[in-house]
């Protein structure tokens, strides 16, 4: 597998992380002593009568890649909101790197190393693509503006946005906005990267490139949580899969095994059918 640009390594703050040793194949969870980097404890949330998080307990290990699937409205995006601080939970705790961050502001969580790409992209429309990345790298990474230029230029190239560096983000297509969303999350130099449906709408070779990119990021020691309806892309990256349904975790385990469970299969079929019409 190809390595990342040196510039991106700088952004990913890869202190003390071995490269290329964390790929899915041949990865043995029992032999690697891994500690929890992010823990959700009894997280609950409802919007009116809809329960979107029903006493969720979830532990994320340092360096792992976790996939989340579930039908529309299951509460996946809301869970990311609770983790990153944009949605306050009704109850429960979020613990990141040993600190209780349940009431911490999103900007401080980001600076601690929690980055998120939004399902509905949230770009800075009036700024250029390059400037978007500079904001994320300078503030999320807590570095001076000049120091991040090189890394941002490299990231643009890696995320397929190099030729649009000086275009205003508002003029991008939805696909490019999604690329920008991922690039911005990476630019903050995360320890934990939360990806919300970044593969939707990509054609096959683009999906393959995305999978490579995420695997490369992971190889630098970044922990990944990925919500995705494009399941074949997801299982090419993650080593654990959870299924969220009605705000509850109804299945958890090795991806292939989880997908074989009849109960999951039933829901998953439902997703596929609805997706056919939804994604264009």
């Amino acid at each position: 597998m190809a390595g990342l640009d040196p510039a991106i390594h700088v952004l990913l703050r890869m202190q003390g992380v071995r490269r290329g040793c964390r790929h899915k194949a041949g990865h043995d969870r029992v032999l690697e002593p891994m500690s929890a980097i992010l823990t959700l404890e009894k997280i609950s949330k409802r919007f009116g009568a809809i329960v979107v998080a029903d006493d969720i307990d979830l532990t994320l290990l340092r360096g792992e890649a976790l996939g989340i699937i579930g039908p529309n409205g299951a509460g996946k995006t809301t869970l990311f909101g609770i983790v990153t601080g944009t949605v306050p939970p009704d109850g429960g705790r979020v613990v990141f790197k040993g600190h209780d961050i349940t009431r911490m502001k999103p900007e401080h969580r980001c600076r601690m190393g929690l980055a998120r790409s939004f399902q509905i992209p949230q770009p800075f429309d009036g700024m250029t693509v390059f400037e978007n990345l500079v904001v994320a790298a300078a503030f999320g990474g807590g570095r001076s503006e000049r120091d991040v230029y090189a890394g941002c230029a490299g990231l643009l190239e890696r995320c397929g946005l190099a030729d649009k560096a000086n275009r205003r983000a508002g003029s991008l297509t939805l696909l490019d906005r999604k690329r920008l969303e991922l690039a911005r999350a990476l630019a903050t130099g995360p320890r934990v990267l939360l990806l919300d449906e970044v593969a939707g709408g990509l054609v096959e070779h683009e999906t393959a490139a995305l999978v490579d990119l995420i695997n490369d990021v992971r190889a630098t020691g970044v922990t990944i949580v990925w919500i995705e309806h494009v399941v074949h892309a997801l299982i090419a990256v993650v080593d654990r899969l959870v299924v969220l349904h009605g705000g509850a975790l109804i299945a958890e385990g090795e991806p292939a095994e989880v997908l074989r469970r009849p109960q999951v299969n039933e829901i998953y079929m439902g997703i596929e059918e609805r997706r056919m019409g939804a994604d264009a």
């Binding site: 009036g126 300078a138 560096a165």
Partner: protein, 336 residues
């Protein structure tokens, strides 16, 4: 890998900056080519460009839609009158002191009104301005509600001849607007400008990328109060007379300022400049019409909001990509 550099200026900003510098030189020489009435008009225009630029920073960039900036215009003016008349401070030295006083007052005011969200924030700013006006009306040392005038001794201390006084105030007004614009350009080119522009475009996105939105808004509010009060102090030093109703006029210091910014282009540094020019063109041509003049302003504002929601400069910038000041960060890759 390839070499790259990041460049702020473009051909349009080079032309724009040249025009701005030439205009500054021409205006600096205005006492030699303009008559007394035109000098007064120009100082008023400068004051409005400064006020609108500051409001634009507050509302257009930081998303703080205040309808109570007259609070700081009036506060600055009253501090100047108080210092000059009661404490014997030289009126020109009182201008920066008025700014400092307003910044100090803004610290707790911001802490209070920042608890209000959305529309309530706007209402809160207006309430604060009303409270300031009522307090000014209670200040018997400055003749309370009926207002007061600067005594001749204070006026003469600016300069002994009437002409020199007018020139001095004119040049200070020009310097003020130049400093305000320069400071805003400098701010927008700095790290904070990056954050402010991000906040302007997408607050959720900015927070999620690590921008401390609350702190930046707080700083902008206080800095804008500082600038607004100094502009207000000079406006009333030129008028010589002050009263609570004129100093805290929501019409003069907020409604017109919002009109200027919205038609010129909110969230763009060029907007308030274009907006002020249009506002004064309308005012000079329609002034005789009385109340109808205000009606026409309203119609113009609505038409611009419908046809060009980003204002006139927004329309131009979107179409041609122009920028008057070198603000962008353009990535230029030199392939080896």
């Amino acid at each position: 890998m390839s070499d790259f550099r990041v460049q702020h200026a473009s051909w349009s900003s080079r032309i724009g900056t040249t025009i701005v510098v030439l205009a500054f030189v021409a205006f600096a020489a205005a006492p030699w080519w303009a008559d007394r009435a035109n000098l007064r008009l120009l100082s008023e225009i400068f004051a409005y460009v400064a006020l609108a630029s500051l409001w634009n920073l507050l509302a257009g960039y930081a998303g703080l839609v205040s309808v109570g900036q007259q609070a700081y215009v009036g506060l600055g003016a009253y501090v100047l009158f108080g210092l000059a008349m009661l404490a014997g401070v030289h009126p020109l030295a009182a201008i920066p002191l008025a700014g400092i006083a307003a910044a100090i007052v803004a610290l707790p005011v911001a802490a209070l009104i920042f608890r209000l969200r959305g529309h309530y924030f706007a209402i809160g700013t207006w309430v604060v301005a009303e409270v300031f006006r009522l307090l000014a009306a209670q200040t018997t040392a400055l003749d309370g509600g009926s207002g007061t005038s600067l005594p001749a001794a204070v006026v003469v201390s600016i300069a002994s001849s009437r002409q020199m006084r007018e020139f001095t105030i004119y040049w200070i007004a020009l310097a003020q607007v130049a400093v305000v614009l320069f400071a805003i350009v400098w701010l927008l080119r700095s790290r904070y400008g990056l954050a402010l522009t991000a906040i302007r475009d997408n607050e959720l996105g900015a927070r999620s990328n690590g921008v401390d939105v609350a702190r930046i808004k707080y700083c902008v509010y206080v800095a804008v109060a500082f600038g607004t009060a100094m502009v207000g102090a000079l406006i009333f030093l030129q008028k010589i007379r002050i009263s609570p109703d004129t100093a805290f006029s929501v019409n003069d210091w907020t409604a017109f300022v919002i009109f200027i910014t919205v038609i010129g282009g909110i969230g763009r540094i060029e907007g308030p400049i274009i907006g002020t020019v249009i506002f004064f063109l309308l005012r000079q041509t329609l002034a005789d019409l009385g109340a109808i003049y205000l009606l026409i302003l309203g119609v113009v504002a609505i038409a611009v909001m419908l046809k060009a929601p980003k204002g006139l400069w927004g329309l131009i910038a979107d179409r041609y990509g122009w920028q008057v000041f070198p603000l962008e960060r353009r990535l230029v890759i030199n392939k080896r």
